[in-house]
Symmetry: C2
Subunit: 337 residues, 2 copies
């Protein structure tokens, strides 16, 4: 049905191998033959079948990104698509396809399928699904993978890329201190998550660097909803020694904190400063608009893909990358105007 390499070969009067070599630019082929083959390909509108090529080369020419569609914290936001675009860019530059596979199964069977059936040459996986079992299995198969975030286990023995969450917190503290805030609180979620621990650690080292004291209870947890963040912030604001600034681990939490501050009749940024992680449109459109720690998720995706390709090309390659954040200063900490 479709035009094959054999049709081209017959038309030009060469062997299929020669056509294959011309397509792939391998070996030395006389320019005369090359031209005739290119002309024939053009004329017959020939396009090599990736299906056949994949089988012959043993490569699917694809990488896969595993997601968990139910994990709205990680995937139902702007984080996700910018990363995807970054990954896709690197993949496309190499002629690879990007496959997206959802896996919220208990047994990880979708990932297993992908790996065993060789539907991808390598995978990018979220920290949430990383288990010792999965790691050892991928290792045994010499199947290249990279984790999109610092994993809770084996962090020195696997490839991963992450935002420098600690540096993000440090940046926030530094900026707040420069604006004259002195009693800073951090409101996040459960520290079961590595990125949250890293942010808290950065908060601590940031305070030390600025010679600011960490008041007891000023590292607060909530469940991530704005209501619970509001509760947590209210509790802190009602103390004798209340904070004069908050670092919030995402926009929803920041919204809750702002509500709490307003309820208390306090002024932002005059009396209370607020910095949030995640420089989403939300940060921009809230009132007041928010100083934010910006995470370059596009770059995160690019780096993840780059490491993965390195690992595909030279098995055994091991890399861990941290990407620094930047601070976008806005009304919520602008005490100086």
């Amino acid at each position: 049905m479709a035009v094959t390499i054999h049709d081209i070969a017959k038309k030009v009067g060469v062997s299929p191998s020669t056509v294959s070599r011309v397509i792939n630019g391998k070996a030395t082929i006389s320019s005369e033959t090359k031209e005739k083959i290119f002309a024939a390909m053009e004329e017959l509108n020939f396009h090599p079948s990736s299906l056949a090529r994949n089988l012959a080369t043993g490569s699917s020419q694809a990488i896969a990104l595993i997601i968990n569609a139910e994990d709205t914290k990680s995937f139902a936001n702007q984080f996700f698509n910018r990363s995807v675009f970054g990954i896709e860019k690197i993949a496309q530059a190499r002629g690879f396809n990007l496959i997206i596979t959802n896996d919220n199964s208990a047994d990880g069977s979708p990932v297993e399928q992908l790996v065993y059936a060789k539907k991808a040459d390598g995978i990018i996986i979220p920290p949430a699904i990383v288990t010792p079992k999965l790691i050892s299995r991928l290792r045994k198969l010499h199947f290249p993978f990279v984790i999109l975030g610092e994993p809770a286990i084996s962090k020195n023995e696997v490839n991963w890329v992450d935002v420098n969450n600690a540096q993000g917190s440090e940046l926030a503290v530094q900026h707040l201190a420069a604006q004259g805030y002195q009693s800073i609180a951090f409101i996040g979620e459960s520290q079961d998550l590595v990125f949250m621990r890293n942010r808290v650690n950065g908060f601590r080292t940031g305070l030390e660097a600025q010679r600011l004291e960490l008041t007891d209870g000023f590292i607060a947890e909530c469940d991530g909803t704005h209501e619970s963040a509001c509760q947590a912030a209210l509790a802190l604001l009602e103390k004798n020694l209340r904070p004069d600034a908050f670092i919030c681990s995402d926009n929803a939490i920041a919204y809750g904190v702002i509500s709490a501050v307003k309820k208390k009749g306090l002024h932002i940024p005059g009396e209370i400063g607020v910095v949030t992680f995640d420089n989403y449109p939300l940060a921009l459109y809230m009132e007041p608009n928010l100083t934010a720690v910006d995470i370059d998720t596009f770059l995160l995706g690019e780096q993840a893909a780059a490491i993965l390709f390195k690992s595909i090309e030279e098995n055994g390659n091991l890399q861990q990358i941290l990407i620094n954040t930047r601070l976008f200063e806005r009304e919520s900490t602008n005490r100086k105007n």
Copy 2:
């Protein structure tokens, strides 16, 4: 290297065809043979190569979603990932992979690659890249495709799924009327885009249905930024006969409109009602939080994939689907409390 169908065949003492038939559940195989084959597959940890299967069956067992990463209006938002998850769900249920391919080329070469190299069995494309040339080419190849949004051309001759934008506007008008607003304006972007035209049309029919008049100039355009939306709203609010409600075609525009209303010292919802398209977190966290027309993008993705598979299975199938919106009522129109 890897375990193949031949290894299983040899171990059990049958032909590879028999193993293939057992794997695919085709033909009638004695249960005795079946069991031996399954046991052998288990023992040798056999997994069929999708690469080989794809070549043999002439199917890539994948569908592709084409995106334009630079088109931030359509893809850099929540719209995107929920749709992706919906598409992926349907694909996975059929054992298909979902490929994401960015195409912001002038010549559409990434799509061409995908199609000619048979990297996918069908594609989902955004209206923005639909051209007569692309359509005729896909048609000629009998290559299944569906458009994720009503296309500007050939709307009756191709598969597409879209949000019922007109119905969304009608819903907004109906709600505003029920809340007692009588002089409603619509602020959107250029009507070059089909979805914008549909929203405007729905706005008109909605007004008629509610027996409300359309004041001259009350269909306003801006460039999509909140600043320009603010300008456009201010212009309307400074008229002798000012609107008492706004329907905004997205959250950024709504933010601009709110700024304008506040600048004029008017009260929301008391004096001015605001409804926005897109029920994003943004709508929830703005002040006041916004009554919003909700678009079920997950369902949109599911339906797009479903149509695509129908088209893959029975070539020539033709379907157009509109998905109705729902209204989430919030502070910005709540005149009654």
